[in-house]
Amino acid sequence: MKARKINKILSFMAPILLFFIIWQIVGVLDLMDTTLLSKPTKVFERIIQLIQTTNKKTIIEHSIESIMRTTIALFLATTIGCSLGILLGLKKNIEETINPLITFLMPIPGIAWAPLFITWIGFGNPTIISVGTLAAFFPIVYNTSLGIKSINKEIIWSASIMGANRRKIIKDIILPGSLPHITTGFKLGLARSWRTVIAVEMLAATTGGLGYMVFDAREYLDVTTVYAGIILMAFLYLLVENTLIKELENKTIKRWGMIT
């Protein structure tokens, strides 16, 4: 089991390493303009430098700032989104009223809201977190209500015939039954709030965050820092997706045999 896991990680990492090696070779042989292309070794050195730096924010502080914003946004979006989704899934007339609005607003990119929120509540954390919440909110509402509607009505009927009250039905049938959809919504919400937080940081952050760091580096044409930021963003996301989310799925829907 352990060996297979390591094997899997290795076969995933090998091509990425190969890509970095080719990049390094191109950089060393000077095949293209190295001031624009940089080199993996230089990027790696820069990451170390940015970890140890004392006169600016370190790259770890920037990452933590972005992660905290995403976490708060995702928490808010999940709380509000799941509650509204459950309501929409259970009450058909409310759903018919609100659904057109949700379908209309859902495809609007999170970042499009940023200037509006900047005008309303100013630069900084309130705007970044609100827009991040908004971006994650729609997929979560949509998938939660979809999950609740997908539950077999006969199970609910038989439970209520056998004397289960409303609270018990919601807790023991509706929530577990819609969990695969809720997990999908949560995963989409995570991806969208992370992306949106990074994007809005470029426009509205005043102190820090990975998006801010990358966009700030652009002003000094510091390509190496931009590469460092991009690579770090990808690794952080992969890490969260393959540890936290996998674990969550294993503990719930996989154990209950609900994954298809």
Binding site: P15, I108, P109, T184
Partner: protein
């Protein structure tokens, strides 16, 4: 659009008017002032149409490149098992990078303007399209391919007439995801890299003048346009192919 939806939209607009007239105009513009602003932007010079046209042009160019290259890469890596082992992890890595993160890099490499925006749209759309095309190739029934081979179909014909139609549901999923990602990249990139036109640029530029009505107008325009692109591009193809061939299964 049935009667009920229209009634709902109308009552929503009335509600919005009532709320906005009871609080500060600056923070929440009323539907009337948004409509007024729309008219100002259409007449005497149709600035709004110019913004929309520019965004649409960028979206179409970027998305088409993403579609062609994405489908090709997906097909090639779906056919060659060894290539897939290399391409798959790279794609998994690239897909985890927020598209907007490429924009600062592109700004340094190619500078402000159309090229950066179109490249960002391409990068947004390419990975989901390629990834789903490859997934689609994996699930094609091998019997179909063997049958086609025995009946003497050559490589290109086999791809065109067997692989692509058989993996059409995945192609459409990828195309739909891709256009969503492309839209996001478009609006983000226009805010950071556009020099004069585009809906994203319009929304961002309105901030300097505290022109909240124009921002609302921009948001509505994006909503309507992305609904239309999905309707015109994807749903039409879907109806003509997998719906007609009865390949649609329940999907979330």
């Amino acid at each position: 659009m049935n009667k009920k939806t229209i009634v709902l939209i109308l009552s929503f607009i009335v509600l919005w008017q009532l709320i906005s007239s009871s609080i500060n105009m600056k923070t929440l513009p009323s539907p009337v002032s948004v409509a007024g602003r729309t008219f100002e932007l259409l007449y005497p010079n149709p600035l709004l149409l110019l913004h929309i046209a520019e965004s649409t042009k960028r979206l179409i160019i970027g998305y088409l490149i993403a579609l062609v290259l994405g489908l090709s890469v997906g097909i090639i890596s779906g056919l060659e098992g060894n290539l897939k082992k290399i391409i798959n992890p790279l794609m998994g890595f690239m897909i985890s990078i927020p598209t907007i993160a490429w924009v600062p890099l592109l700004l340094i490499l190619v500078g402000l303007g159309d090229k950066t925006i179109i490249l960002a749209i391409f990068l947004g759309g390419f990975f989901p399209i390629a990834y789903n095309m490859q997934r689609g190739m994996e699930i094609v029934n091998l019997d179909l391919i063997r049958a086609a081979r025995i009946m003497g179909l050559k490589d290109i014909k086999c791809i065109l007439h067997v692989y692509i139609p058989a993996s059409m549901p995945s192609v459409i999923t990828g195309a739909r995801l891709g256009i969503g990602y492309s839209w996001r990249a478009l609006v983000g990139a226009e805010m950071l890299a556009a020099t004069e036109h585009g809906i994203g640029f319009m929304i961002y530029a309105s901030r300097a003048f505290q022109d909240v009505s124009a921002m609302f107008l921009g948001l509505i325009a994006i909503g309507v346009l992305s609904y239309l692109t999905d309707r015109i591009l994807i749903t039409t193809v879907e109806n003509r192919t997998i719906k007609k061939w009865e390949m649609v299964t329940q999907h979330g």
